[in-house]
């Protein structure tokens, strides 16, 4: 199943101008657990989707909201020359097709 079909919310946003954070939220415990246990959502699996090294990606489960947070380094700070997305609000797309 693709992440976009499993998750209720897949969003991205700046967490300050040097990081991007992706929040994956799920409707129920079963879907949350399924995503949490998927190797496709490990730092090592996510990093190449964004052309990043594994050490630049962090995955943090957040049970109270049935959510998984992904935090990534920005390769370019928000608004510096070469940035594509000042607010970081459109960096979720590479994750949508991931098979869980």
């Amino acid at each position: 199943m693709k992440l976009m079909d499993l998750a209720r919310v897949v969003r991205s946003k700046n967490a300050g101008p040097l990081k991007i954070t992706l929040d994956l939220m799920f409707e129920d415990e079963a879907r949350y657990q399924r995503a949490l246990q998927s190797p496709a959502l490990s730092p090592g699996a996510i990093a190449p989707l964004y052309g990043l090294a594994r050490s630049q990606v962090e995955v943090i489960p957040y049970r109270p909201a049935l959510a998984i947070k992904v935090v990534m380094d920005r390769t370019v700070p928000s608004g510096s020359l070469g940035d594509r997305d000042v607010y970081g609000a459109q960096q979720h797309a590479p994750l949508l097709e991931v098979e869980i």
Partner: protein
Amino acid sequence: MSALDRLRAECGGARAALRVISASGQLGYGVPEAAFAEGLRRRPHVIGADMGSTDPGPYYLGAGELATSDEMSRKDLRRLLVGARSIGVPLIIGTAGTGGARPHLETVLAMVREIARAEGLKFRMAAIRADLPRDVVKAAVRAKRIRPLGKMDAFGEAEVDGAAHLVGQMGTEAFVRALETGAEVVIAGRACDTAIYAAIPSLLGFPMGPAMHMAKIVECASLCCVPGGRDTMLATLEGDSFVLESMNPKRHATPMSVAAHSLYEQSDPHRVHEPEGTLNVESARYEAVDSHRTRVSGARWEPARRFTVKVEGATLVGERVALIAGSSDPRFIANIGTILDEMSAIVADLVGRKPGVDYQLSFRVYGIDGVVAWPKPPAVPPREVFVLGEAVAPTLALALTVAKTTKQYLLHHGFAGRLSTAGNLAFPFTPPEVVAGRAYRFSAYHVMEVDDLAALFPVEVEEVG
């Protein structure tokens, strides 16, 4: 009797519930009237609003300009000032004018004075400055007491001097000092969003864990609801817990929606770092009061062993010109990477300056990788692409020269296999070179160790009206 004396009489020692309303997480983009009016009817003890962020990028901090329009900024400020004075409670505004540096603060203070004059309002106002003295930051650089909060260019003493504006995010401590002057209206430069709402609970002796957690959630107004929105939010702090309620009956604060808000724009959902300590929400509990309201408890406050301040600086990069064009030609689209590389070399030769040194020319190709830096090209080429060229140079004249030369040579570039020999590009209008103003970059997004917070964020008091 000052606003603070009245609050102390009513809620001092955390004996009674403290009602806080958050009118906006982005003052100047419009405050919905119905929900704000409902908020006033609930007799809040304080009204707060946040006005800025680093989110819109380095331009506003660098240029000293507001991201919000003059008209809407005034309209929002008027609504809040008139509302707060009508019920006689303090109004606290953080990160004035988007960036929170001196020009932003001055612009907002001037607006407040004008509104007060026009509306016949009289009050004591405290302004809190957030511009960091350069010598203090340079001393921190030398003492290695400042470090970046991620990957960015080196920030040394020369960069401290080179920043157009350099601000620190003040914490609760600064707002407490401002309120202790008896001010009815507090307008702060760059500030932690939380500090706007945590200052009065702190002054009144409420436990800081729940107070800071309340502040963290309520600062985005009704964004913590389903459906999320911009309407005024009410938080009722009752010692060890607080209740959240949107002033728009269609927005519901549910345990799930409130818990999820801890994720928003945060790199760590469990901890929020403030100048005076860390809010830890790992053991927070979220319980429905009813279908519209949620009670939150259990957050802990861990006082810092050493004060820290987040430092933000923006530095001028140059003058920016955008070049806008599109193409529907499959051969142009298939070869666009090579074509743009060739174009960069041709333009450098024609302009006779060194690219990357004397000017910067770059392209984003929408349809391929304009939004995301995809590591691989798309499986199927797009039918059309939008090409955004960007020329940045020390002078507008040079940036225009680069953009205009690029436009003409890209239009007529004779790449291998070309079919459309009369022109490669569609321009939606001309001139397709758009002067985009000055380009800035964040040169500082650092955390600095500080011994004396009060010295960094001076309070100035004036009688308005």
